[in-house]
């Protein structure tokens, strides 16, 4: 059952990535080109209908997926790198360094995600950079805490003590002993953070602080779709479905990864 679900998640995720790649070469047409009447229902030439300017929804959704996925992925990689360093140093060093890093992270953790995102947008000005920074700030606390927890456990193991006794310097201990042994935790958290990242991008762009039109992102498309929800439901259905499928698929894959890397931890509800 579990295995089946993980595989389904991976297939969905694979398809989404393929669609994103296809949009880069405008496989389904130019997302900014006006191809038909405004708010036309699905038909030949525009298989998912058109939007309020007469642009075909299919290439727009594809561009939206690409934008959102790229933005979230880059942000999550930044988070992973920062969290790995912060978490491992805090977990291994303990003491004042640990207190400093963890209290700082907790301050971030105490902000609701969207409030933090709006704050960032106010500082950077609305746009992709604001969305990127928001995703990093929203995902960094949880990942850092979990990496630290894993690092605390690894730091007490005998092979770390043996390395210290041998006279190993800090970079070797952290790089050769700590990092490889918390990498599983990081991999699992990266998938969860990716789904959070997509949600934050969606929320921020929906509010108009993230990706700016005419560039499409899932958040931008959903925001535009809500305006015409009754007149042209196809405008919100496509991006909405993709959004839900993407977040679900990533979470399911994350659960599968977790069961593989951390088999002794509690299973998910599914």
């Amino acid at each position: 059952m579990k295995d089946w679900l993980t595989r389904a998640g991976m297939v969905c995720l694979g398809l989404i990535v393929l669609v994103a790649l296809a949009s880069v070469v405008n496989l389904a047409g130019d997302p900014d080109e006006i191809v038909g009447p405004r708010l036309a229902p699905p038909g030949p030439g525009y298989w998912l209908g058109t939007d309020n300017l007469g642009r075909s929804m299919l290439p727009r959704i594809m561009e939206g997926i690409a934008t959102t996925l790229l933005l979230s992925s880059v942000a999550v990689l930044v988070t992973a790198a920062l969290s790995a360093v912060l978490g491992i140093v805090a977990g291994y060093r303990g003491g004042v360094v640990n207190e400093l890093i963890m209290r700082l992270v907790e301050v971030l953790y105490s902000f609701p995600a969207i409030v933090l995102a709006i704050l960032v947008a106010a500082v950077f000005g609305p746009g992709q950079l604001a969305a990127l920074a928001s995703i990093v700030l929203v995902t960094i606390p949880l990942m850092t805490r979990l990496v630290r927890a894993a690092a605390v456990g690894v730091a007490q193991r005998d092979y770390v003590t043996a390395a210290i006794i041998s006279g190993a310097r800090l970079p070797r201990i952290l790089g050769r002993h700590l990092l490889p042994n918390v990498a599983g935790t990081i991999a699992v958290q990266v998938t969860y953070a990716l789904s959070v990242g997509i949600a934050v991008e969606g929320g921020l762009s929906f509010l108009g602080f993230g990706v700016q039109p005419p560039q499409a992102s899932l958040g931008v498309l959903i925001q535009q779709g809500t305006t015409y929800m009754t007149a042209a439901p196809w405008m919100i259905t496509g991006p909405g479905v993709v959004f839900v499928v993407a977040v679900l698929a990533i979470n399911v894959v994350g659960d599968g990864l977790r069961d593989r890397f951390e088999p002794r931890q509690a299973r998910s509800l599914v």
């Binding site: 193991r157 005998d158 092979y159 003590t161 043996a162 390395a163 210290i164 006794i165 041998s166 006279g167 190993a168 310097r169 070797r172 050769r176 002993h177 490889p180 042994n181 990498a183």
Partner: protein, 245 residues
């Protein structure tokens, strides 16, 4: 003298500043390990054995008292002792990095010193009774006894003058224990290192140690030659320990 602990006290503090609690892990402990000998350190858990080993390895600075290695006070920077002292620790399951090949683990003390000598790694693996081909395996492919042999190889690869065995055989089966103890004895004859052998198991210590020190509540209550200790223990606590054996 390879190692001397002179009136060493280690105090741990815990709790908030206004209600500090002091725990004496070691009180005025004096010990020495002579050239080529094995000192067995026994005592129940919480007696301060492990703290003593941490002090001996320079991982724990004494609150009071002095530690001398080869007649000289401990250097300020632990790294200056790199390669001169090593340890074999308790858990065979965690003694080797699961993400590193066995060969890389054994080579690590050399790598720390900036040396590269793959042939020494292979030679060392064979000296501890393993095939050199094991160097390319990962620890999870090895048995507990094999892993502890790898730990010994790692500890000896820099030819240290002093080794600490902290409950090094306690987690192993009795038959494997005997093999490892014999291996340690053989290697000691060959390499001539001095050792501090810490265990709660009096039978094991009797087999391997030249002299025995008994710790209780952070103090050394008795030090004696192994033969003397097992036939005529002087301290009341030693007698009770031996009776329980």
């Amino acid at each position: 003298m390879i190692l001397e602990l002179d009136n060493v006290t280690v105090t741990f503090t815990a709790g908030p500043p206004f209600r500090r609690e002091h725990v004496h892990a070691m009180r005025g402990v004096s010990l020495y390990v002579a050239e080529g000998e094995t000192l067995g350190l026994v005592g129940e858990s919480g007696s301060g054995k492990t703290t003593a080993s941490r002090v001996a390895l320079g991982l724990q600075r004494p609150t009071a008292g002095a530690v001398r290695f080869e007649g000289k006070p401990f250097p300020k920077r632990r790294r200056e002792l790199a390669g001169h002292m090593q340890a074999v620790l308790q858990h065979p399951h965690w003694s080797l990095n699961p993400r590193m090949r066995v060969g890389a683990s054994v080579a690590e003390p050399l790598a720390v010193l900036g040396e590269k000598a793959p042939d020494r790694v292979h030679e060392m693996l064979e000296r501890v009774g393993l095939e050199a081909g094991l160097a390319t395996r990962y620890p999870h492919e090895l048995s507990g006894g094999q892993r502890q042999r790898v730990s010994i190889a790692r500890a000896l690869v820099t030819r240290p003058r002093f080794l600490v065995f902290d409950e090094a055989v306690s987690a192993l089966d009795v038959s494997v224990q005997a093999q490892i103890l014999n291996l340690i004895k053989d290697l000691q004859r060959e390499f001539g290192f001095s050792a501090l052998f810490i265990s709660h198991d009096l039978g094991v210590v009797r087999y391997i140690a030249d002299r025995i020190a008994v710790m209780r509540g952070g103090e050394v209550v008795e030090t004696a030659d192994t033969a003397t200790f097992y036939t005529a223990p002087a301290h009341e606590y030693s007698k009770r320990l031996l009776e329980a054996l």
